[in-house]
């Protein structure tokens, strides 16, 4: 396995900018903390002992490398490109989130912090944070929107079982955006002793960069697995985008491979012609949220709009600044998939491959099915299966019952 020291850093620049995006738009109270974090991360990623400890945890605790699975029956059912699944759902705790939580918690420990805080939407990052806190002996507080607590009760229970405290965010839309606000406020008040484990490639510099570095293992493994299995690179790679950490992790090692088409899939919710969507890159415009300049769903006065998706993990009005950069540079194509299409994709994957995908990942599957149909059978398409769907089973059941398609 390649360690995190080896990759050239192209973006961000020293100011944390991905082209026009990124930066550090945060209260002065936090500036010192992010500067310290920046230095600590740079030092850690160059320290063989840190890299070794992280890689040890990734292989012996998280279960990496995750497999690359040929989806034979799905490929047949779709007709077209050969579809492969990068199985991040097989990580311990059930999603790619653990890669990053392990990296950040290990860094927190190295910096002498005793407690970590985290925000979570669908709960996967909250569970991953609670898990690594337990593993590394740190205390953990998770902020979660009240609405998401309702949607993801099983994950809330898991976090509590793992010893974390879950604090409901009751402002605004009571979802991920508001949980992030609450986490930042808590961090401002307890910045001396607390490490904020951000769950996606969002937030002020160095978070989008650091989280990418912890997640790029997904794409590095995929790249070498495809090369080993098929002696060539894939033609297209598809991943879902909420904040965008699984997608950046998957895309980044392929950025220089111009023959590989990269496709990010946002949540179109009830449709991008309605107000109920989370299609930030498709319909947003540049603005500042949670410390970084990026595409943002907002009204004409700059008030942040509420996002909607059946998937609590994609229900976010912002997006990682590197995605904003990749969109504007044209290297990655961003599209969107509706709640209904994602639900269909869940059923297709369940019934062809025996895998229940997370609703987030189902967005990537839905898009990949559309794409594969248009490609010939000698083409290779890889989907980042970012997480497993156990947490979403109740939501899926509710939705399918409501539409009478049980």
């Amino acid at each position: 396995m390649k360690n995190i020291q080896t990759t050239t850093r192209v973006v961000p620049d020293e100011n944390g900018r991905f082209g026009a995006f990124g930066g550090k738009f945060i209260p002065e109270t936090l500036m010192n903390a992010v500067t310290e974090l920046e230095m600590a991360f740079e030092e850690a990623r160059r320290d063989p002992a840190f890299v070794q400890e992280l890689n040890g945890l990734l292989s012996e605790y998280a279960g990496r490398p995750t497999p690359l699975t040929y989806a034979e029956r799905l490929t047949k059912a779709v007709g077209g490109a050969q579809i492969y699944l990068k199985r991040e759902d097989l990580n311990h705790t059930g999603a790619h989130k653990l890669n990053n939580a392990l990296g950040q918690a290990l860094l927190a420990k190295r910096m002498g912090k005793k407690s970590i805080i985290a925000e979570t939407g669908a709960g996967q990052h909250g569970v991953a944070s609670a898990t690594v806190a337990a593993k590394l002996g740190l205390s953990c507080t998770v902020f979660m929107g009240e609405e998401d607590i309702r949607r993801q009760s099983l994950n809330v229970f898991r976090m509590k079982l793992l010893g974390a405290e879950v604090i409901p965010a009751v402002s605004g839309s009571r979802t991920l955006k508001d949980a992030t606000n609450e986490a930042i406020r808590h961090w401002v008040s307890h910045v001396d002793e607390t490490f904020y484990v951000i769950g996606s490639v969002v937030g002020p510099h160095p978070y989008p960069y650091m989280v990418r570095e912890f997640q790029k293992i997904i794409g590095e493994e995929t790249r070498s697995q495809v090369l080993q299995m098929l002696r060539r690179l894939p033609d297209e790679v598809v991943a879902c985008v909420g904040g965008g950490s699984n997608a950046i992790g998957m895309f980044y090692p392929f950025i220089q491979d111009e023959s590989v088409a990269l496709r990010g899939v946002e949540a179109a919710g009830k449709g991008i012609d309605t107000e109920k969507h989370a299609a930030t890159l498709t319909l947003g415009r540049p603005g500042v949220i949670h410390g970084s300049l990026t595409y943002l769903l907002q009204d004409e006065c700059g008030q942040v709009q509420e996002a909607h998706s059946i998937s609590a993990g994609l229900d976010y009005p912002g997006v990682g600044p590197e995605h904003a950069y990749l969109k504007d540079s044209g290297r990655v194509t961003y599209t969107s998939v509706t709640d209904a299409e994602a639900l269909d994709a869940v059923q297709v994957l369940c019934q062809t491959e025996g895998i229940i995908p997370a609703l987030e990942s189902a967005h990537a599957i839905a898009e990949a099915i559309k794409r594969a149909k248009e490609m010939s059978s000698d083409k290779i398409l890889v989907i980042c299966l970012s997480g497993r769907g156990d947490k979403d089973v109740l939501t899926i059941q509710e939705a399918l019952t409501a539409e009478g398609g049980e």
Partner: protein, 272 residues
């Protein structure tokens, strides 16, 4: 280029007198109430008024000011409304300095250059943008200078080595965050607050004002020796919240305004 001396500079020209700076959110509970409250606060001894522009995601604010923002947003209050309010206050003869408080995104969407030109045109003197640290404020500072407006910098107890850099670049006055955390009334102030304020004072040639967490005349008195100005926000906003219903009713408004004026007067008097 505006040649007249900025009102903030005039205000602090006499460094022997301490200045009182109340904060309130524009449009909470209505623009009309804000107009009368500001006028009353000036009569009660306020030297500089900090007017908050409501925002959906106020990261640096505690629950009290966040609720004020939510009330104002329900009224559809925008930067344009805040500017119109300043204009009306000026037309009514108000001389006190006015600083707008806004998160960066509304300013960015309004247009940075247009924002500063309008601040000058409508009679404001400065702006506090809590999520725009010195690393990111270049374009705003340039536009502000062209229009004779001050971008007020913040320093926090955690700023440590940044204090000198921020102090050297500061214009207007330097906003000292008295405590870690978001805005909101606190029972106790930090023990090392005086040391922090003295360090800030030594770092800069501009006046200093201290805010975040100061809510009582006793606290105002305690910090006064170490600063040129004291900012009180949440404690006043809380009073406005408690009187929101009366403030919305034209008949009951004068009485409610009077009560808040008395509270502001107690705070302002504690400085002298």
């Amino acid at each position: 280029m505006t040649t007249a001396l900025n009102r903030i500079d005039q205000l602090f020209a006499d460094r022997d007198r301490k200045r009182f700076i109340p904060f309130l959110t524009v449009g909470d509970p209505s623009i009309e109430a804000t107009f009368h409250l500001v006028k009353a606060m000036v009569e009660a001894g306020a030297d500089l008024i900090e007017l908050g522009i409501p925002y959906s995601d106020p990261l640096a604010d505690g629950p009290t000011i966040q609720r004020a923002s939510e009330r104002a947003l329900k009224n559809g209050v925008t930067i344009g409304d805040a500017l119109q309010l300043v204009k009306r206050l000026r037309e009514s003869g108000m001389e006190a300095s006015v600083v707008l408080f806004s998160y960066f995104n509304p300013v960015l969407q309004y247009g940075i250059e247009r924002f500063f030109a309008d601040l000058a045109a409508y009679g404001a003197d400065g702006v506090v943008i809590p999520d725009l640290p010195i690393e990111e404020n270049g374009r705003a500072v340039t536009a502000a200078k062209q229009n004779g407006i001050h971008v007020i910098s913040l320093v926090a107890p955690t700023s440590s080595s940044r204090i000198n850099t921020i102090g050297a670049q500061a214009t207007g006055f330097l906003y000292c965050v008295s405590s870690l955390g978001v805005t909101g009334a606190r029972v106790d102030l930090r023990e090392d607050l005086a040391d922090f304020l003295e360090r800030v004072k030594a770092s800069t040639s501009v006046p200093t004002a201290v805010g975040f967490g100061i809510s009582t005349p006793e606290q105002v008195r305690a910090v006064a020796p170490h600063t040129d100005g004291v900012i009180v926000g949440s404690a006043i906003v809380q009073q406005i919240e408690e009187h929101a219903e009366q403030l919305k009713d034209p008949k009951q408004m004068p009485e409610a305004v009077e009560k808040i004026k008395t509270f502001v007067h107690q705070l302002a008097s504690a400085l002298q």
